[in-house]
Symmetry: none
Subunit: 401 residues, 2 copies
Amino acid sequence: MDSAFLKELITPAQTKIVMLIIDGLGGLPREPGGKTELETACTPNLDALAAQSALGLTQPAGPGITVGSGPGHLAIFGYDPIEYEIGRGALEALGVDFELGPDDLAARGNFCTVDANGLLVDRRAGRLPTEISRGLAQILRTIDVQGAEYFVEPVKEHRFVFVMRAPGLSAALSETDPLKVGVEPLPVRALQPEAEQSACLLNKFIAQARRLLADKQPANMITLRGFAKLPALPTYSDLYGLKAAAIAVNGMYRGVARLAGMEVLHVDGDTLADEFSALRNRWEDFDFFFVHVKNTDTFGESGDFEGKVGAIEAVDAHIPCLMALEPDVIIVGGDHSSPAVLKSHSWHPVPVLLYSKYVRPDGVTKFGERACLRGSLGILPAKDIMPLALANAGRMIKWGA
Amino acid sequence: MDSAFLKELITPAQTKIVMLIIDGLGGLPREPGGKTELETACTPNLDALAAQSALGLTQPAGPGITVGSGPGHLAIFGYDPIEYEIGRGALEALGVDFELGPDDLAARGNFCTVDANGLLVDRRAGRLPTEISRGLAQILRTIDVQGAEYFVEPVKEHRFVFVMRAPGLSAALSETDPLKVGVEPLPVRALQPEAEQSACLLNKFIAQARRLLADKQPANMITLRGFAKLPALPTYSDLYGLKAAAIAVNGMYRGVARLAGMEVLHVDGDTLADEFSALRNRWEDFDFFFVHVKNTDTFGESGDFEGKVGAIEAVDAHIPCLMALEPDVIIVGGDHSSPAVLKSHSWHPVPVLLYSKYVRPDGVTKFGERACLRGSLGILPAKDIMPLALANAGRMIKWGA
C-alpha cells in the first residue's frame, strides 16, 4: 500500500503497540513428517495469546526471496524492502552502533597485506587479531584529508567500518578490493559524475593510510567496498504518528530501528529479561515498542535445532510480563526464517500473530507454522502488518464516505 | 517481482528442476457436492508426492481472468503474461511449429470466397477441405514481392498461417477480414507511421494472391488478421541461468517454450511414455525440463469428464518414472483450468504442487483442488512459482545482509 495514502488515514489514539520480533523465527522439520523448531517448542503463553489473535505467515520480500536481517526488519516495520535498500557499508556501520546520518558515506574496510611492489599478498592480513585491528584503527583516525570528516570503527579481526562525512557525498563508487591477490588494490572510481568529489577524497584517504601503515606488517594496507549511504526513510512519526522506541541488544537492529525514526532505548544488560525490563521502565513514554530477540536466529544459523527450540521457549516465558503491561496491540513475528536444518536464513514465510481486542479470531490455538497457515491473515507481505496493527490500535480513520 | 531484481540473486547450482504441466488441470464437480476431475481421479503417486510437497493454487493472470494456453504457459514459466502478450498471428504460427524469429510478422489467414465484384460471399470458403487448402498454400508460396520473404503454412480447413520476414516490420496494422459478407475485404492500413512499409508489402502480397487464386473457386481470395510479432522475452538462461529443455508434442507449447529460450527436444512418438522417454534420455543435458501433457485439456474442452479423469490417471502412472530420476525440485501444475462441465478454459485457480527436500510440509496428503486450498503456498500468481522453485533448487542467494 502506498505510504502517502496510509498517512492520510492516520489519527491519534491513546493506544500502545508492541512488535516482538523473534529473529529467524520460521523453521523446518528436522525429519520428514516432523515438527519445526517453533512447533516443537513448548509455548503455552504464545499458544494462549494465539487463541485470542489473528494468525498468518509473512513474506519479507516476495516468494522465494531469502532476505538478510536489514531488509527483513524494514519489511516488518512496514517499508518496501526493495525500494529502501540498505547497502552493505551502511549495514556494517549500523552493526557497530555507529549513528549514521544523512551526510555519511559508509564502507566495509579490510586491513590487508601488500608486498614491496604494492601487490596484494593477503586480502585479510592473515585475519589479524581484533586487538591489533583496534590499534590500527586508532592510527587511521589520525588521517586528515580536507573536505570531510572520517571515522574508523574496528569490527572483528581484519574488518572495520569506514565512514566519511560531508555534504553531497555519493555512493556511486567502485570498490578497491580486486578480490584476488597478485595485483594492486584498485583506486576508487566515480561511477557517476556526482561521485567525483567522493572518489577524490577517498583516494587521498587511502594514500595516507598506505603511508601510515607501511611498516605495520602484515596489515600494511586497506581496501574499501560496499560504499553506501542510508536510504532516506520516512519515520514512524511522519508515517504513522507514532512515538516509537526500539529495544534491541545488537547494533544492527538498533541501527535499522533508528533509521525508521525509533528512539533506541538503553538496555541494562543483554538478556531477554533486561530487554523486558527496559520495556516496563519506559512503558509510559512511547506509543510503539519494537522488541528484538536475537539468539533464535543465531541458533538457526548454526544448525542448533534444540538451541533454537530452547530460545523460543525462553521468549514464551516472558510473554506474561508483556501481557501484564496490557498493550492494545501485540505483534509476534520474525524478520525471516532461519531453519536449523539449513543453517542459514531462508525464503520460507514467517509465522506471525496479531493480538488486539478487535481481531476476528480464527479458531487457531497454537502458534506454529502449520497453525498459522490456517490463520485469518493468510500469507501476506510483511509490510502489510503495520497497517493491520494501526487499524487494531484505533489509529486509522475510515477512507471515503 | 521485478525480473531484474530476481536476476541479481541467481547463483549456479548442480540441481535439476522438472515442471510438469498438465494442460487445463483444474476442474469443477459435475454435480453439487461432487468432486472435480482431479479429485475423482485415482492418483496414488501424485498424492504420495503431495505429502512431501507444498501445495497451492495458481492464478495465471489475475482473479476472474480466463487465459488461453499462450499466456497460461508464459505465466507458469515466470513471465507476466499481460506484459508479454503473444498476438494471435504469432500463436497460430507457433502452433504449426513455425520457428518465428525477431524479424517475422505473423498473421492468421483465411481462404474465402468473393463474387465477380470482389464482394465477400463466404468468409471461410465453405470450410474447404484441408487437402485443398494445402495445394492453395503451395500456390501462395510462389508469390514474390520484393522487400520481404513470405511463408504460408496450412493449418486446418480454410485456415493458414502467414509469415512475412524482413527487418523493421511492425504489427500496428488493421485486419483485412471485414467480419461480414457483402463487402470487399479491407486493405491493410498502417495504424502507426512505422507500419507503412509493412502495410504496403502486405497489400502487394494480397493483390498477387487475388490474381493467382482468381479461378480457384470457392477459395478465390484471402483475408489476414491478428498481425503480430513475437514479444522479446528474456530467456531462461538470461533470467535464471538455467539450461532449459521443453518436451511437448503440440507445436504451440513447443513454440512458447522456444520463446523462453528452452531447447525443444525431439520426442519419438506422441504418447506420455514417449515424452518421459525423452526426459530420461536427455536427463544429463539440462538443468530444467518443461514437460507438457496436452490431452487433459482436450477432454476438458470437449466436456468429457471421464476422459479427463482417465488422462490424469495416466499422468499419475508416470510419476514413478519421474521420481526415479531424482529431480531436486518438481512442479506439477497447469496452465489454466478446463472444467469438463464448462467445455472450455476457465478462470478457476489451478492446483499446483512444489516438491523439494526443503519445502515446509503442509500436512496435506492429496493432490486436488480442495486439498491445495489448505496448502502452504496459498493462492498465488502463477509467475511466482519459478522464484520458489529456484529457491528450493539452491539457485538464489540471500538479498541484503
